[in-house]
């Protein structure tokens, strides 16, 4: 069972019911559950969207698109049915926050889905969980069944005359399906390859109907915004970055865990105070700040606020909020290799720059790590990655290229130390240490 952590600097909004038994529908109701959806019904779609816009909530999956704005793009009139699709395909390495939401607060996902449905005039919502999350799917399925049994889902919800249904769905192992258009393909029973945009899902989405697709954490934040008001939520964060979010701090820290911190919270403080600093008193080498696809930061670059805009200015991205911390013992080339191996494995093969690029990068970085590369290979790696950028249907190509460019740019010396038959200095040091012991 995932261990829960806490820190006094946390602002617990989306995580406030964690560990309180809210999987039980009665307990959820006692903790203000299903109150937000009633308010939303009473006040109507325009009010919901204006509160969402005021909240400054930006997509928690990683792209950071303003949620209220996304909802407002859905046409009011549509011949085809409209849909809500919750993205719980959490697969970005370093990210495990939605895991806790499904585990501890499944009804918040249902309630948020209902409110999204009310906002856009949809009668059907899908909650898609990655296939590996079977035990969490069971929790979600029970929560949905309990909500139906209470009459909260189905026909005429809360006497409003509005019908709303929720269907849970499982994936079967595919990172790519976390991309919204591939997610729709998967839900339609196809290979999870991306669709070209435009048209955007808000206009032509699932089964050709207008569709709102939001990350599970985004959706689980919605009921809280309805209860506290958009403005109050916005005030917790920084300008244009409303609220708090679940940051997962993993890797070489003393107290890894998922912490809900206000947007704009200082990254250095998050690592050294909230997560207890570097494990074993070692020195920090690097931070991958928002899941494996975000460009790496060096130890002296981390005095920066964790919001979409400040991280962008710092030359990286806030991403999924998965902060991966690397101490001085890590070989950056080996880390870069493991990262690109992941993208090579997960590339769906639809777009050639991604399919071929991730494969060649894996080969090149692998050869370099083994000591079989020469000087110009370092520039070739970077050149290859740069030529993948923006040349694919979906962002997986960028997700593979961006961190690779970052590793070469920020840690070029480590790449050079591997050249001309030398191989990995860290591996040699470990072998020497083992031989002496």
């Amino acid at each position: 069972m995932p261990r829960l952590v806490s820190h006094p600097d946390e602002v617990r909004i989306t995580s406030r019911r964690f560990g309180l038994g809210a999987t039980d529908i009665e307990k959820y109701i006692a903790l203000d559950g299903y109150r937000a959806v009633r308010t939303a019904i009473e006040k109507g779609p325009e009010w919901i969207i204006s509160e969402m816009k005021a909240s400054g909530l930006r997509g928690r999956g990683g792209a950071g698109f303003p949620t209220g704005l996304k909802w407002s793009f859905v046409p009011k009139q549509s011949e085809k049915p409209k849909y809500v699709l919750v993205n719980g395909d959490e697969s970005e390495p370093g990210t495990c926050k939605d895991h806790l939401i499904f585990l501890y607060d499944p009804h918040a996902v249902i309630e948020g889905t209902m409110i999204a449905g009310l906002a856009i005039g949809s009668k059907l919502g899908f909650i898609y969980l990655r296939g590996e999350y079977r035990y969490l799917l069971k929790i979600m399925e029970k929560a949905v069944a309990d909500a139906y049994a209470k009459g909260f889902l189905g026909k005429n919800i809360f006497g409003s005359g509005i019908d709303f249904d929720v269907v849970t769905q499982t994936g079967a192992g595919a990172y790519e399906v976390g991309e919204e258009s591939a997610l729709m393909e998967s839900l339609e029973g196809k290979r999870g390859v991306p669709r070209i945009k435009p048209p955007f899902p808000a206009v032509v989405g699932l089964y050709g109907g207008p569709t709102v697709i939001n990350n599970a954490e985004t959706i689980a934040s919605v009921p809280h915004i309805m209860l506290m008001g958009g403005e109050a939520y916005a005030k917790i964060g920084t300008e244009r970055n409303g609220g708090a979010r679940l940051f997962g701090i993993s890797g070489h820290v003393e107290k890894p865990g998922v912490y809900e911190l206000p947007m704009g919270y200082n990254l250095k403080k998050a690592i050294y105070e909230v997560a207890g600093g570097i494990r074993g008193g070692k020195k920090l080498k690097a931070v991958v700040p928002g899941g494996s696809s975000t460009p790496v930061m060096t130890a002296d670059e981390i005095d920066v606020g964790l919001d979409f805009d400040q991280m962008g200015k710092a030359g990286t991205m806030l991403g999924s909020g998965g902060i991966v911390v690397l101490d001085e013992t890590v070989c950056i080339v080996e880390f870069a290799l493991r990262t690109i191996q992941f993208y090579q494995h997960e590339s769906c093969g639809w777009c050639i720059p991604c399919r071929e690029g991730t494969d060649w990068l894996t080969k090149s970085i692998g050869r370099l790590h083994a000591g079989g590369a020469v000087d110009k290979d370092i520039d070739n790696i970077r050149y290859l990655a740069e030529n993948m950028l923006g040349r694919t249907f979906c962002p997986l190509g960028d997700a593979a290229a961006m961190p690779t460019i970052g590793f070469v740019q920020k840690f070029r010396k480590e790449f050079e130390d591997h050249l001309n038959g030398k191989g990995c200095p860290y591996k040699h040091a470990r072998e020497e240490e083992a031989a002496l012991a």
Binding site: P93, S250, P256, G322
Partner: protein, 169 residues
């Protein structure tokens, strides 16, 4: 359409599939869950599974095969009764995920995607399973085990060997 009489699945699973296909605007949306649930019962996606799933959804068998080959959890060969999936992605790698993988290889005497001769265990090195803050983590079938050490890993394997594993399906 397959009926209860000619289905290869248990009556429970057949009934579940009958309901599943009605939940979506398009029957085909049930395809990925059906393949996974069929695999849970049969052990892998056999030719017979493909044929029946295709028939139930009104698809051609090669449509089903095309989808099947995309998803990493779906397999066309049997795995062990307990499929041990060790994550070695970045967060787990930093906390000795590879050490856990090597330990499992030694303990079980098998490598990546291999099955023990008694059919009890199979081993797989997998990509991120969403347990990064509790690394290193593994799954045995659908059950998570986290913050592992070689000793804790031994305990997990011993428990399964003795029939005391968790067993979410």
């Amino acid at each position: 359409m397959a009926t209860e009489k000619n289905t290869i699945f248990s009556p429970e699973l057949a009934a579940r599939f009958d309901k599943l296909v009605t939940l979506y605007p398009v029957r085909r949306s049930a395809l990925v869950p059906m393949l996974l649930y069929a695999q849970d019962e049969v052990g892998y996606i056999s030719k017979a599974v493909i044929a029946e799933v295709a028939e139930r959804l009104g698809l051609r068998e090669n449509d089903v095969e095309s989808v099947l080959s995309y998803y990493s959890m779906l397999r066309t060969k049997p795995a062990g009764k307990y499929n041990v999936q060790v994550c070695t992605n970045i967060s787990c790698m930093l906390r000795d995920g590879y050490g856990i993988l090597e330990h499992c290889k030694k303990r079980l005497g098998i490598g990546h995607k291999e099955v023990t001769p008694d059919g009890l265990f199979s081993l797989e090195e997998v990509e991120c399973i969403g347990a990064c803050c509790w690394a290193p983590a593994i799954q045995v079938n659908y059950d998570f085990y986290d913050e592992l050490t070689p000793e804790k890993m031994d305990q997990v394997l011993d428990d399964y060997r003795a029939g005391r594993g968790k067993g979410t399906v």
